[in-house]
Symmetry: C2
Subunit: 379 residues, 2 copies
Amino acid sequence: MKRILFFLFVLVALSMNAQRGFAPQPVSSPEIAKNGAVTFRVKAPKADTVKLIVDSRVDTLMMRQADGTWSITLRDLEPDLYMYYYVIDGMKVLDNKNAQVLRDVSTVMNTFVLDPDGDSPVAVHDVPHGEVHAVWYDSPTLGMTRRMMIYLPPGYEASHQKYPVLYLLHGTGGDETVWLEQGRAAQILDNLIASGKAEPMIVVMPNGHTDTPTAPGLGPNNNEQPTFAHKQWMEGTFESSFNDIMTWVDNNYRTRPSKRYRAIAGLSMGGYHSLYISANQPDDFNYVGLFSAAIGRMDQGKSKIYDNLEEKLVNQFKQRPRLYWMGIGNKDFLYKDNEEFRKLLDKNRLRYTYHESGAGHEWANWRDYLVIFTQLIFK
Amino acid sequence: MKRILFFLFVLVALSMNAQRGFAPQPVSSPEIAKNGAVTFRVKAPKADTVKLIVDSRVDTLMMRQADGTWSITLRDLEPDLYMYYYVIDGMKVLDNKNAQVLRDVSTVMNTFVLDPDGDSPVAVHDVPHGEVHAVWYDSPTLGMTRRMMIYLPPGYEASHQKYPVLYLLHGTGGDETVWLEQGRAAQILDNLIASGKAEPMIVVMPNGHTDTPTAPGLGPNNNEQPTFAHKQWMEGTFESSFNDIMTWVDNNYRTRPSKRYRAIAGLSMGGYHSLYISANQPDDFNYVGLFSAAIGRMDQGKSKIYDNLEEKLVNQFKQRPRLYWMGIGNKDFLYKDNEEFRKLLDKNRLRYTYHESGAGHEWANWRDYLVIFTQLIFK
């Protein structure tokens, strides 16, 4: 009877697929070889051209085989998280053989983890895992209840310890979920803590867009779509309401609520937020991380948050932050703005750590920067 | 400068899309009118046929317009969560205008919430929201650390109260995430608690497949794909390790750890699990919910969990559970098995509540059953 019911389940599943017009295909994709070669396959007998797009890293034509399957094998990819899709005769199509998907701003893509040596910090390994909480905090400053994600280090629940806190901020296209999804923050922290390379820490991931309480679709505007174009954008409201987040976190988790045990870092817009929040609150953060930061002092006059930056930085560095870390790719469209900012720091003899990588304004860099930055803090 | 940078961001985003072969299209989809009519549009100038598939509810051809956009308007859809995709010349294609997607077993689909009257229990409303925790618990019985999701009612963190617990189990195609995603459990509980229709409760959503520690992709087998075909399946290991979950939950959350304040419910395989766990632990659950349960006593002899069911049920009902609830659709392929089970209960004069709905083995029913069941428990 068990087997009968099982086959019934499978038949229902297959027949549902068949009804929907997809006969089961003997195609496996992506197929990851032990040496790290990745083969992509998609059946499209009537197509004229099939392309494979992988992040901003690969954009290539695929080869047609006799049975109408198109395929290509990529070699020498670095261990990392990858996102990809097909373009079949100009139309974006996901890989139906791969149900793992992620959203990059408004583009949904398939995803896989490449970890041929079994030691990538972005892969899940058999190590203790931290909890992840989706919480709602009151922001009296904004008059809103807002969603936020919290990573707790393995052992938090069983211990009575207090922990340092990293505030980790997203970019213009992101929201409170993106550091956990494309950013692999939980996996990175789990792995670095397990190997003793990073200290156990709480990681707080708020939503940096003050015109919305949540990631698209999780707030009362149920069918909201992700966008780059926010009504409120880098105009001071997030920075000036940041204490609401810190207060809530210190009240609700076992934190060490002092500068010594507090870090703030962010990518792109989140780097800009980190820069201004830490400059305006020089007694609050011992560690600052600017990942491909959207620097440019573009909002002077818009909010007192952005006024007198040079003076604020000089004052901030007088309080001797243990680490002021900047990372940027040499192809990033914000490279020059970051160079200008370094000149400003240099002119004032303010000590920072600078990390220049390859590539541009992209997640491969931001995951890397998180791996580097989290090993330098709270030591 | 702010505007320049903003336009730069937008240009980069648009040009990335353009590079990928998608010129921006003046197409909006799905467009939801105030009266609840939903218009789907997709641009496919070269296509011969374009179909729209909505759950198991709609499978229809779309109409080509002069500019190569295909469209269709659906009216009279019930308020609910919907999942859909297009089939363009036989190929499954997602709606590129809608970045909201969900996975149904191994099929990724677009999704939207239809709530024309602003009162659907599955929609997000401006009410207090509960926290959702992704936790890892030790299962000594299985020798595994496993992932599980926990919903905490609004106010849990601020209160010192203890709460009742609903254990909510998924089906063969699901995992620990599915009641929160397709099931909308957090939204349903938030809404029913806010309106006073349900008692504040903790909802525990474990993973019912004992051959894996997590949903696909969240465990050490990073690129695991969802499947109906599990190595261990309805053979007693989940039921016999269930006390590990209850113990962990009672140790880590402010529960009321007694039968009076404990419920167990599940869909399909999760209904089967709920049936056998509650029958084997008659002193533990005051409320039992079987949602389209995979009943059939198919595993007698496989595990003592499944032996002597009739005797166990008689004993369970002697302990007078407050509610033994069964729901099933009149088109469900498990309808007859549920009818047989009711006959068994009737024969023994065991009192249950029976809810027969339309439709079959599908999420529209399971969301409904959760809405009904959670209003009946802990009162």
